[in-house]
């Protein structure tokens, strides 16, 4: 008797067409060359003028699908954010979204900050990467107070520690939870439920269609 795993007893991806075996290279977009188009050129000029260390702090500028992303060294994040808020009038940060790329060695965890300037009606995005082994990124709560809960959520879900946050605790998961659910190595389901002494197995272990 061979061992079967998962639902429906399918092995691998369950793909029966054969096309599922095609191999795709993971995409890691390179830097975009000028002109960026739209208001992005003007914005980059303004930022270079307001921030002399631009070329040192910003590792990559990507324009994709009409959106501008500035990739920033994490040590310089607070400086750049302060300049963007005060000099380039990005009054609002719309939060933090974490992304986990286990294949990008040394830069597995990424924090993405969408910024909005109401004065100029513009949007840009900041991206900061850090290693899983040293998952620390400076907090932006001092710059945009509204990032408080967003950083707590990203800490909760990805385990990114935002240095300087006034109270970095879990926000959505229970305080005593183990692990960070949005990481790619964290399984969906897989958690047994205990209630009044009885244990209900996790959905992934509950039934087997064999």
């Amino acid at each position: 008797m061979s061992e079967q795993q998962g639902m429906f007893g399918a092995a691998g991806t369950g793909d029966t067409s054969g096309y599922g075996g095609l191999v795709h290279a993971s995409v890691n977009p390179g830097s975009t060359e000028r002109p960026y188009g739209g208001y992005f050129d003007q914005l980059a000029d303004d930022l270079e003028r307001a921030y002399p260390d631009f070329s040192d702090a910003i590792t990559k500028v990507v324009v994709d699908r009409g959106e501008l992303t500035l990739h920033i060294k994490k040590e310089r994040l607070v400086e750049v954010a302060q300049i963007l808020r005060d000099k380039l009038l990005f009054e609002q940060c719309m939060g933090v979204s974490g992304v986990h790329y286990p294949d990008r060695k040394g830069a597995e965890l990424v924090a993405v900050y969408p910024l909005l300037s109401m004065t100029k009606n513009q949007r840009i995005r900041l991206e900061v990467a850090t290693s899983e082994l040293d998952a620390h990124i400076p907090s932006l709560v001092e710059v945009w107070g509204g990032n408080n809960w967003h950083e707590r959520e990203t800490f909760d879900m990805f385990g990114i520690v935002f240095d300087g946050h006034p109270g970095l605790t879990r926000i959505l998961m229970p305080d005593d939870w183990d692990g960070h659910p949005q990481r790619k190595d964290y399984p969906l389901g897989g958690i047994a439920v205990e209630y009044k002494g009885a244990t209900t197995p996790a959905p992934s272990n509950r039934r087997s269609y064999k």
Partner: protein
């Protein structure tokens, strides 16, 4: 005190801890609690309000520190409705993602779907190919949804401050809108009607007639609530100057929506960064300059009329585009069959079944691949925002080129705006917290996702 030690009351018990005495209060026993705390000679008490409290908008927990009746600190506790929607979406196809997204903010399902679908369409590069009629239907559904959502905000907000009448009227109007949703999509809530590339199906025959009647009825009925609350002395005493948050506070806390517009800034994404063809509709952005609960209430009341205006224009456009497609023409993305209501009351497409089962093997393969595996989306990341009833609702979606989202994150206005509870309530009276929270209009399904 002595009574307490001799008889055990399961609904109003107290116990000693290292932090001091802890009382359980369940309502109706407030007098006995007050007399007991009076004996304790301690003015500073900490109250756990919620997570199961009728006036905190669902499972929201507020930890309050009180000096007498003055609030010195408010700490909102959330996460009681966390369902892992973002994680789940990584395990489902791009089309199935709509079904998850719609369940986040359960009072504004159409906005969740639209934000998600706009992001997916941007990733696919098909934003310009979405048919005009599909965009009109999206606008129609969003504005209907804005009405039903504002009705809950107004109705429950009034109920929480002690006015029961407005709630009856508000829910009467909401019911009319939900019935319309049911007629169009088959479901009252969580309808997963907006899909990447368009909408799931066209409006049923004769729908525009019914919509015109709905607009007339709603416009007449909205007056009932207006007469009850606008200018009402008691209502104004409970809401004027309460929950104050000015423009600087809103900006630093990332606040959008009616709370931001109550500071006088006319920021509305429908005007500033139009999507779904909002630039083709005439409507006004409503503001107030009072920065308080009453201003936010007036904004929501006035936005109802603006939504009706947009709906009327959408109905005219729908009549003009009758019979046009509601899904992109690209058969590698569009759902293979356009379902129609059959005589048996079930949705089906007999022509399509005849084709895939009887005539074309390739059609069958295509149908099977698209429905089970789904379409692929080119790698990259996008951010797409819509103006939901509560503010900027945005989807940050990352694709690695596969048939499922690599990462789906939603910037929920409820989640962000709930942070302002402390700024609005600290230093005020404990009873005013309720009004302040109601004016933020948080929906915990959206907050916790």
């Amino acid at each position: 005190m002595s009574e307490k030690s001799t008889t055990f009351d399961p609904y109003a018990s107290s116990r000693e801890t290292t932090e001091g005495t802890v009382y359980s209060v369940t309502g109706g026993d407030w007098d006995s609690l007050v007399s007991e705390i009076g004996e304790a000679k301690e003015e500073r008490i900490i109250v756990n309000m919620g997570p199961q409290h009728p006036s905190t908008h669902g499972v929201l927990r507020l930890v309050l520190e009180l000096e007498g009746e003055t609030v010195t600190e408010v700490r909102p506790g959330i996460g009681y409705l966390h369902t892992g929607i973002e994680k789940n979406m990584e395990y489902r196809s791009w089309t199935q993602g709509t079904t998850f997204a719609t369940r986040m903010d359960y009072l504004a399902p159409v906005f969740n779907e639209t934000a998600y679908c706009l992001a997916v369409e941007k990733l696919l590069g098909i934003t310009d190919q979405v048919p005009e009629r599909a965009s009109i239907i999206r606008v129609l559904m969003m504005e209907l949804n804005r009405i039903s959502s504002h009705m809950v905000a107004l109705g429950t907000g009034a109920l929480e401050l002690g006015a029961m009448g407005p709630m009856f009227f508000a829910f009467r109007e909401r019911e009319l809108v939900l019935d319309t949703f049911e007629a169009i999509t088959g479901l009252r809530m969580n309808m997963a009607y907006v899909r990447p590339g368009g909408v799931a199906q066209d409006l049923p025959e004769g729908m525009t007639v019914r919509l015109r009647e709905l607009v007339t009825t709603l416009r007449k009925n909205f007056k009932d609530n207006e007469r009850l609350l606008v200018g009402n002395t008691i209502w104004m005493k409970r809401t004027e100057g309460i929950g104050y948050l000015d423009l600087a506070g809103c900006t630093t806390l990332g606040i959008t929506g009616p709370v931001l517009r109550s500071t006088g800034l006319p920021w509305d994404l429908r005007k500033m960064q139009p999507y779904c063809g909002y630039e083709n509709y005439e409507f006004d952005v409503i503001t107030a300059d009072t920065c308080d609960v009453y201003g936010r209430f007036l904004i929501r009341m006035a936005e109802l009329e603006q939504s009706l205006r947009i709906i009327e224009q959408a109905i005219t456009k729908l009549d003009a585009t009758h019979g046009q497609p509601v899904m992109v023409a690209d058969k590698k993305i569009a759902w293979p069959a356009q379902l129609a209501l059959g005589a048996d009351g079930l949705g089906n497409s007999l022509d399509h079944i005849r084709e895939i089962m009887g005539t074309s093997m390739e059609s069958l393969i295509h149908h099977f691949k698209l429905v089970t595996e789904g379409f692929r989306v080119p790698a990259g990341q996008v951010y797409a925002a819509v103006e939901s009833p509560r503010g900027e609702l945005a989807a940050h979606i990352v694709s690695d080129g596969g048939t499922r989202p690599y990462r789906a994150h939603f910037r929920e206005p409820s989640f962000n705006n709930l942070q302002s509870t402390s700024a609005m309530s600290e230093g005020g009276m404990v009873a005013d917290i309720i009004g302040a929270v109601a004016s933020i209009d948080p929906v915990m399904g959206g907050v916790d996702r």
